[in-house]
Symmetry: D2
Subunit: 441 residues, 4 copies
């Protein structure tokens, strides 16, 4: 893809003139700051980089995340706030904890507030009080899933949110959420600019589906894959234990099938993976039903993994509704496939034993595993560094294995998807042997 069009410049709310308290004298010999010139190329293909340079085009790169020598906010006077929005995801509490610990111990900020129940917490009519976030409050929250602040879905009035920030003297806001939240962060930051306020907004992308554009890994994803793997193992055991046994697991992934595709690779016992990015037929020679029949005839059992957003074409005629966040309510492809498959074999007088597993809430409400905890710790510390330096309208991302600053405008309204020609999907095809489930190619 062409990365040249991706915005990479990070706005600031003012000049960073204060010496950072982060690096105490005793560290000097062994630790340093990140300089603004340290950047990370978007594209790592030497051919295309060379082409750009020959054509005198600019080469796109992101700012490297990390502590700056000079900061914008005076820690002794600063008030910060943290809000968590949307669905649960393993690691939210890790993020909250690391934000508070870095602000408190790293920068000696003494006022960090938690906003209760997502954007609702800004809005007076809901009556949710602010929560004081101190090291004592957050120190033991790692083992808990969910969000100690609570969350909620759906937009709230941007004006009221900014009013709340202003009224509470909050100058640095950390927003943890998915693409809806990134959109809201963008609008909040714009409204702040319009009002001429000096409030910085830093987002930390939260998406269990791993579908934030320009963010190669998002927190909680590895935990989700790990638990999804256990569900697949259960489905495989059910499938193998009965004649013509079918284990079918529905996994999260509204528009992007990363969890389904990745989890399918862990044990390689999956025979069909269905994701939103790849169209599939049910009928016809190459359709799922025919191939499933062959598989059962050959091997007597079969495991199917379906992402929740797959096969939505089968509901096209049905009318759509939306949830409070404005997400289109997807029809349940898992239940649909269960019915279609059961009907198909029943019609053909073949007795099957289909077990359907939908583990979604059991996955998203878990605490993060150790590697996601570590990842969260880096995300949050880097978010603090960026915010303290006066950067705004940005999120902390991960690109080419580095933590980077990404402008909200680079990701808002876009979505990362499984590349049908890339190594992930190729591995799924190799591992499942499912081929193209399409009759006309």
């Amino acid at each position: 893809m062409n990365y040249q069009s991706v915005p990479t410049e990070i706005p600031t709310i003012g000049p960073a003139k204060i010496s950072s308290p982060v690096q105490k004298k005793e560290y000097n010999n062994i630790c340093n700051f990140v300089h603004e010139e340290e950047r990370v190329l978007l594209d790592i293909n030497p051919e295309s980089i060379m082409d750009k340079i020959r054509n005198k085009e600019a080469v796109a790169s992101f700012e490297m995340a990390g502590p700056r020598e000079k900061i914008y906010f005076d820690p002794s006077k600063l008030k910060c706030a943290v809000v968590t929005c949307g669905g649960l995801c393993p690691g939210i509490n890790d993020i909250i904890r690391a934000l508070v610990l870095e602000l408190y111990y790293g920068y000696r900020v003494r006022h960090v507030f938690g906003i209760r129940y997502g954007l609702q917490g800004f809005i007076p009519k809901y009556g949710h009080d602010l929560v004081d976030l101190t090291p004592h409050v957050v120190t033991n929250i790692l083992e808990m899933g969910g969000s100690i602040l609570g969350s909620s879905r759906g937009p709230q009035d941007i004006d009221e949110i900014v009013d709340c920030l202003e009224r509470s003297n909050i100058s640095l806001l950390f927003m943890i959420g998915g693409d809806g939240t990134i959109m809201a962060a963008s609008k909040i930051a714009d409204h702040i600019s319009e009002k001429g306020l000096n409030i910085s907004v830093i987002a930390i992308p939260k998406t269990i589906d791993n579908d934030i554009f320009m963010v190669s890994r998002s927190f909680g994803f590895e935990t989700a894959v790990e638990v999804a793997t256990q569900a697949i193992r259960g489905a495989h055991n059910e499938a193998e234990s009965y004649p013509k046994g079918i284990g079918m697991i529905k996994l999260m992934g509204r528009y992007s099938g990363f969890i389904a595709a990745t989890a399918a690779l862990a044990e390689q016992s999956v025979n069909f993976v269905l994701i939103p990015e790849i169209d599939f037929d049910l009928d016809g020679e190459n359709g799922l039903l025919n191939k499933l029949g062959k598989r059962l005839a050959d091997r007597n059992h079969c495991v199917i993994v379906v992402a929740e957003g797959a096969g939505q074409k089968y509901f096209e005629s049905a009318e759509n509704s939306c949830d409070e966040s404005g997400n289109i309510r997807l029809k349940d492809i898992g239940m649909y496939l269960k019915d279609v498959i059961t009907g198909h074999f029943s019609k053909n007088n073949i007795e099957i034993s289909l077990k359907y597993i939908d583990p979604s809430y059991m996955i998203r409400s878990l605490p993060a595993n150790a590697n996601d905890s570590i990842f969260c710790s880096f995300l949050a510390r880097n978010a603090v560094h960026a915010g303290m330096a006066g950067k705004t309208k940005m999120l902390i991302g991960h690109w080419n294995d580095y933590f980077v600053h990404i402008p909200l405008s680079a990701t808002a309204g876009k979505r990362k998807q499984v590349d049908p020609h890339g190594p992930l999907w190729r591995s799924v095809l190799e591992s499942t042997g499912q081929g193209a489930l399409k009759n006309d190619l």
Copy 2:
């Protein structure tokens, strides 16, 4: 309860005259056999025992399980078979493995066959071959859930089953299954007697619901409780993370609520437990809906655990259907409650956030945890000891903390349930504070 009516005598298929190879000479000083006189009282209350004795009544007791000095079968000529029936349960493979290892290394039996796919495996028309079960085949199956032999539901022709045993020269059959299987074992053993054959039938009770009559603990139950606990934790996280959040978990338990009641005690974050043994109202002052409303008003979140067999009175008018095993297909109380609760609060204009979790297949298809593995090992070894001694028409049970021999007739057709006046339910009431969910008491 009155234990006096419980049958306790174990039939044998012939006299045990052969010296057991189990206890090799070198063991003599440190290991011994179980004598037939070693028995375990059914009732451990001294008052009622004294009463019996004063009234010259017999005092009921079970045979203690364990290796006998003399055995009936000649190991060098014996052929054994193992069959696993019904739904999956953690530990089935542990049972298979320990049966094979004890027969092979303990008694030096060289012919152990696995019957494929439950009772189907006996019936020629299904065409499932017997499987040779050797130490090599079973040595690494502990980490796998499910059953390496496969299973199936539903009865098969008893005559054909006994024919198969006779034709294959199998003289010792181990049947792993629930109450349907225990019934089948009873009929098979009766038919064997009628035909004058010397085939012993030993059952090992398998019930993830822990509802076999006169069996205080069944394998897989602790594993099931452990994983159910994780689902409850997830539900609790979901409930706490949203305003007026409700986490509802449906757990296994068709007629007995042991998993639901026990798992609710592990974290004590559950507010309502609904089980088949305890009637509950939805409406009225003491009904679930009113109490749930109060809970949400007071604490803003709530966790409900419902056993699949609870509240079936709400479906009484609906017509019933049965599955292949003849089990009545229960209506889905979880989905029903979800709809009723959602409707109730919607009608009252209270916005709730209800998350419904149904982890059943993810639980039953797991491998056993370490303690269940150990328990399985004792069950299986004791089953082998009993079978080799020529005992038949019995199952291996656990009573007052001892492994015992229980006649099939003692449990077939009955069911263990949660005692509304016993310590388990009392603890649930203490832990949840739910009180009686009934308007007329």
Copy 3:
């Protein structure tokens, strides 16, 4: 064994005259109290019970644990304290939590204090403050291992302890600890009697070794076995992965080999189990070294589990020292065996690959698994019921599958051990095939 000599009577500090607040009216129809006549036989063998009765001997039985209709203490005035002593064990925090929740919500006791760092917390010179234990403090401690109160080893002055209780107006003391603590509890209770004070002392036995006399199961043991099993699996992997690989695991068990013997049964990949109760030779035909050599020659790998208290005869000449609790410091049998085995094969020019694993602190510092959590919840609630009823000088035990009251005098100074003739050790012999490791039998 002869249970007739075991004391079974539980002292009280006064008559229980106050109606218990535990059972609220709404429960009446579905829950009841435990009556004092409900008891549990120590011996469940019908033969020996009959013999006793024929001989007009008393038949020993324990009081059944559970809530009483009448209590001694007035909840509105009562102050309670909780202390945790000795080594860590999975489940201590579960016990603390359930004690507090039952006292607070069940009996409406409003003053529960935590004593810091074991018996040290009673002694002024250490300067440890009391901790207020409220539901808020304990609600989220389940996921944490260790003890939130802290612990310490060693005795403290009994007089000072009783002074502290008196000075703080504490009338009900819960002591969580092992045999040293049970001894201390006994002395404290005696001193209280001597001083004519109305202070009740209830112990909850804590022993990861599962070696408290007359207590069939103690909390944390199943968790310990579960994790020990993982260490064994690791040792087995190491052993199998190298030519003549030996995996040796040292497990806890100073005087009793329950963890070693039980964990060895979980996977049945262990070839030798060495425990304090069973003597073994190193040299000679039946000695460990010769049998190990044969095993390596035959199968090329071997797994050995050794309890820390096994083979202490090899250190007899060495002088002994004691730790602060007065426990004799055992010589390290694991390191000793490692050296002996390495030397033996080196002398015989056989190259082996021995890996030694000592997981003890990784086990005892864990949080309890779900089943231990549930067990802890029952122990603690029953301890509260007993204490509120005015019972004293007792501990909560588990016998023949029931929770019972056991006088401190029944267990203090004695120890439960693995019965060389019982089913546990018999199963170890069957599973390992190790035979007697003795030359003269």
Copy 4:
């Protein structure tokens, strides 16, 4: 660092002229091959890339891994072999399994042999037979830790190894091992060239320490960190539960402290991290002992993580010995620190409670977690793609988040270490607050 000097060219043993069977016709529309021009920059800093180009210097890049359209070997005639060397690491069996499945199902290679017990398996005098590796053999090995092929340490005669390959007609050898193995692979490949044989050698780097030069992530590392985290949690519980409690954990890391530094970030309860890359003093104002004393005085407990290779300067005078692989046997810094710390506080009459945990064998013998399994699957499939394409003298690495081909010469004899100025160590300093443990800076 200057990446320009890193070799990046991959040798081949001949032209790839055969059409790959991997991509069957039905895949064509949705899957493609990797072209030789697809490469990954070593350096992703745009500044330095620009500099290179302005200076007309070449810009270093690695070949992208993945399936090629044309392959060198004829699958129907090819014989492959797999060997696993050195210490255990989570994921070895995942690698073996994915190699076999890709060769068998992807390329239809029918002859894959396993070499037993590392390089020993090539040498006739050890008498280890080759093992046939078929899908059936490997399908269920994922849950097992260790290596199903076995391993061994130490070099073997290169000539004999190549003879064995030639004699067995093996043309494609996969070597799984650490830096010793990579050296051996290099020598074997050179000897093959000298003898004019057409045998390809592909290495898959195995290092639980994550210290292979130019390889950003190696398999098993995340699993190791996850389990190390549990050990740290245990140490933390021990430390908090006793007055002046110290929990000390020794973790793997002979020359590189990645596990210690990374695991310390997961829970952020660690106070001191000691790694080989960072010198530290024991005595003096900034020395460990003084800072530890302050920590205990302030907070009453402390957690120390020490990598096995840290502080080797304290053993400088001691003579060194080597293990069979030629690794210098490190002195045990953990035991040394334990003694020094105990002595220090004893001398100062301060009673501490130090618990020392060394979990190494419990970590390395584990099966891989789900994310490492997936990573292994990618590594192994890419190794097969590279080998089938006729590439040799290379390993499969991971760089800037891509799988790449790295010449053996780029990594052999070098080592990756924790950068004292990089984000990992900076985060450790922020999280621990330990500062520089040096008196002269």
